[in-house]
């Protein structure tokens, strides 16, 4: 039973890591606490639901990815860019982000209704290895999220754009002085981050389904993971995602599903008060900037 929970947690943790990595690059490159990330998460699945009957599965997924990229870019263009140009504070960006989230969620609820939607209703086969049961959606989730995470890490660590993103995260002003087009990098960061979030949403949508309000919980979990793992360390985020998923699953198994968020945020408060810089990071964050 314990092994079963651990395997489920690993798969949930990888999905959470996808969302959290997207949140992470947006947060580290632009210092925006992007709550609308959860809105994009949900919007992607609903776009797929709408597009799927017209174009089929494969094109549906490709179109959804393009849609996610564009949605991220559009939010940056319409909402954050003007604030950035007026050099608004982090808190103003947070509030605008809340506004964007509320708008996206309510537009979706207006168009599609408030009930849970599942992308795939068919009876699903599962794989049995001794006592352990792995369902088919879980297999997909595992085999898609691992390469996606690897690709993302390669993009950040190896390519030239990744280098520019890291430069902006480190010092935006200096990066600008060195001739990097900061605005274009910000667009790319928002696009890539949204794509990561939506791919996790699609993988989740095939398994447990999604409703318009499920975005907030996962964004907050992602934010918790980014803070716990340390805002400078991508590996910390992945590690913390899997740890958090393990803790959440054990809470659900031994206590009840309702305690999950409470436990998550208690951990966040404890980590913030005890190791303000995150568990895998070694710099003081309190008076950063």
């Amino acid at each position: 039973m314990i092994i079963q929970i651990l395997i489920n947690s690993l798969i949930n943790g990888l999905l959470l890591a996808l969302v959290a990595l997207g949140f992470h690059i947006i947060f580290s490159a632009t210092k925006i606490f992007h709550i609308a990330h959860g809105g994009i998460f949900v919007a992607g699945v609903y776009f797929f639901l709408w597009a799927n009957p017209f174009v089929g599965l494969a094109y549906g997924i490709i179109l959804t990815i393009v849609f996610a990229f564009l949605l991220g870019v559009i939010i940056e263009w319409l909402v954050y860019k003007p604030l950035f140009n007026k050099s608004g504070s982090e808190n103003i960006a947070l509030i605008s982000s809340l506004g964007v989230y509320v708008i996206i969620i309510n537009i979706i609820a207006l168009l599609f209704g408030n009930e849970t939607k599942i992308l795939d209703n068919s009876i699903r086969k599962s794989l049995t290895l001794g006592e352990i049961i792995i369902t088919k959606p879980q297999l997909w989730q595992f085999s898609f999220s691992l390469p996606l995470i690897a690709l993302f890490l390669m993009f950040i660590k190896v390519t030239r754009y990744g280098l520019k993103i890291r430069a902006i995260s480190d010092n935006p002003l200096l990066a600008r002085v060195m001739g990097i087009n900061t605005q274009r990098i910000r667009y790319i960061v928002f696009g890539i981050g949204s794509v990561m979030s939506v791919s996790a949403a699609l993988l989740k949508g095939f398994d447990t389904g999604i409703d318009p309000y499920s975005g907030m919980a996962i964004t907050l979990s992602a934010a918790v993971v980014v803070i716990i793992g340390g805002t400078d360390s991508l590996y910390g985020t992945i590690f913390a995602s899997i740890m958090l998923a393990i803790i959440q699953n054990f809470t659900e198994f031994f206590l009840s599903a309702q305690w999950r968020d409470t436990v998550t945020f208690t951990i966040l408060i404890l980590v913030m008060l005890w190791r303000t810089e995150g568990i895998l990071q070694f710099r003081l964050r309190v008076d950063e900037k």
Binding site: S89, N91, V102, I103, S256, Q258, F265, R285, D287
Partner: protein, 291 residues
């Protein structure tokens, strides 16, 4: 007539909530999303003291305020001492969600998702505030005292020190003052008025359940003061007016019920985004929300 009085009572509860959050966010500069936790703790404590122990409304309110300060104000002050800006805001979100989890799950005390029914109406020296009109007079008393209090408080030297905490904490330390103390004062006063609002809400509706005190509620109260403007009295009051009267106005446009709630949220969010973009200090605000 009762319809108008009910709206006015709800309006006054939101005015008290917005004024109290205004002290913390507008004057002291602690942008926080846990107002619904303060408000909910107040509502739950008053209801539990009244229903389970059988205290009078005013006694219950008194004890609720004291317990609420020891619980919430101390935790919030502690995290305000350790965390800055965005991280403090995140800490308040965490507090809000932990609070919701606790009232939802601690069924022995709060009856969880079933809520607390049958909360008695307030009673003072034989006079029971059981009709809407009488209750309206009670809320009017509290709202008027809140407005007068904050009007007076904004002129005291203590309030200038709170503003100094917001503007330059290091400078305050240089003057030999302790920022943590002023943050505690500010948060405690916020908690006191949030508790009053919660107690009024609980006795007005005579039934409370956890869904009235979610993160969304905190976001709404923050929206109210950001739209109205922070740092003075006019801002929160006008924000609450817009927030409470707008849905009633939409009711007369004959919008179908199925889309009214969502359309309302979209309108609020659009107002919020435009206010933040075009007039960062709100309609009547003196100060910008800053980082």
């Amino acid at each position: 007539m009762n319809y108008v009085i009910n709206i006015l009572i709800i309006l006054q509860i939101y005015i008290i909530l917005a004024l109290s959050l205004n002290l913390k966010t507008g004057f002291t500069g602690l942008l926080s999303l846990c107002q619904a936790a303060f408000y909910g703790t107040g509502a739950y404590l008053t209801s539990i003291l009244m229903v389970d122990i059988g205290l009078n409304f005013f006694t219950a309110l008194f004890f609720a305020i004291i317990i609420n300060i020891t619980l919430n104000a101390s935790i919030t002050t502690w995290s305000a001492g350790r965390l800055r800006n965005l991280y403090f805001t995140l800490g308040t979100i965490a507090l809000q969600i932990v609070f919701f989890g606790v009232i939802y799950n601690w069924q022995a005390l709060t009856r969880g998702p079933f809520g607390i029914p049958g909360i008695p109406k307030p009673e003072l020296a034989g006079l029971i505030f059981n009709t809407p009109l009488k209750f309206f007079i009670l809320t009017l008393f509290f709202t008027a005292s809140a407005i007068l209090f904050f009007y007076w408080f904004a002129k005291t030297p203590l309030c200038k020190l709170l503003e100094c905490t917001r503007d330059d904490e290091v400078w305050l330390t240089v003057l030999g003052k302790r920022p943590a103390y002023y943050k505690f004062v500010s948060i405690s006063i916020t908690v006191v008025f949030a508790t009053i609002a919660g107690a009024l809400y609980a006795t007005f509706t005579s039934y409370i359940d956890p869904t009235s005190f979610t993160l969304d509620e905190s976001i709404l109260v923050l929206t109210i003061i950001l739209v109205g403007g922070t740092g003075n009295i006019m801002g929160p009051v006008s924000g609450a007016l817009i927030y409470v009267l707008l849905p009633e106005a939409l009711r007369f446009v004959n919008m179908p019920d199925s889309i009214a709630a969502n359309a309302r949220m979209i309108i609020y969010a659009l107002i919020l985004i435009f206010i933040v973009r075009l007039k960062p200090n709100g309609l009547f605000g003196k100060f910008e929300i800053r980082g």
